[in-house]
């Protein structure tokens, strides 16, 4: 759907390309903030289950750290595979 459209965009004058990249930048900021929000939600849901205290307990903090690190590593791996597939570089098993 988009290949021809993106080709069209490359033929646009400089000013339009600038606007395009400003738009992408805005989308990336929004996306990063959403990713952050959903990461916090996931790790909170998976790691915090008791509410006898107002402060995070040591083991909850450890769990949150590991959750975030695992998720970020996972997310980078997905990003690499996703990029390969977007470039049609996927191979069969």
């Amino acid at each position: 759907m988009d290949k021809s459209m993106l080709a069209d965009l490359e033929s646009l004058p400089e000013a339009d390309r600038q606007r395009m990249s400003a738009m992408m930048e805005q989308l990336q900021i929004r996306d990063s903030l959403r990713m952050y929000n959903s990461l916090v939600e996931r790790c909170f849901t998976d790691c915090v289950d008791t509410f006898k205290h107002k402060s995070l307990q040591k083991q909850e903090e450890t769990c949150v750290r590991r959750c975030a690190e695992k998720f970020l590593k996972h997310s980078m791996r997905v990003g690499m595979r996703f990029a390969e597939l977007n470039q049609g570089a996927a191979t069969q098993d």
Binding site: Q26, F44, T45, D49, L72
Partner: protein
């Protein structure tokens, strides 16, 4: 709208854009805290329409802990090499 365009032009547009994203982020954070803490703290059989004391104090602690998780992960992201 035109009245708000200044000589600074694009830069001001960007400031507005970032401010908008920032506000959206806060609204989304608030919504996620509300739903997560409702799930963790409030009995969903709805036998009455009042929140009891246990549910209220659970909510207070839940919001506090959620906030701490937000900060903790924010630190991890800020210090690391992760491009989020």
């Amino acid at each position: 709208m035109d009245a708000n365009l200044s000589p600074a032009g694009l830069d001001k547009e960007q400031i507005f854009g970032i401010a908008e994203k920032e506000m959206e982020y806060r609204v989304e954070l608030f919504n996620k805290i509300t739903h997560s803490c409702f799930n963790k703290c409030v009995d969903n059989r709805y036998k009455e329409s009042e929140l009891n004391m246990g549910e209220n104090s659970c909510t207070d602690r839940c919001v506090s802990k959620y906030w701490q998780v937000t900060n903790l992960i924010g630190q991890l992201l800020g210090s690391g090499k992760h491009p989020m």
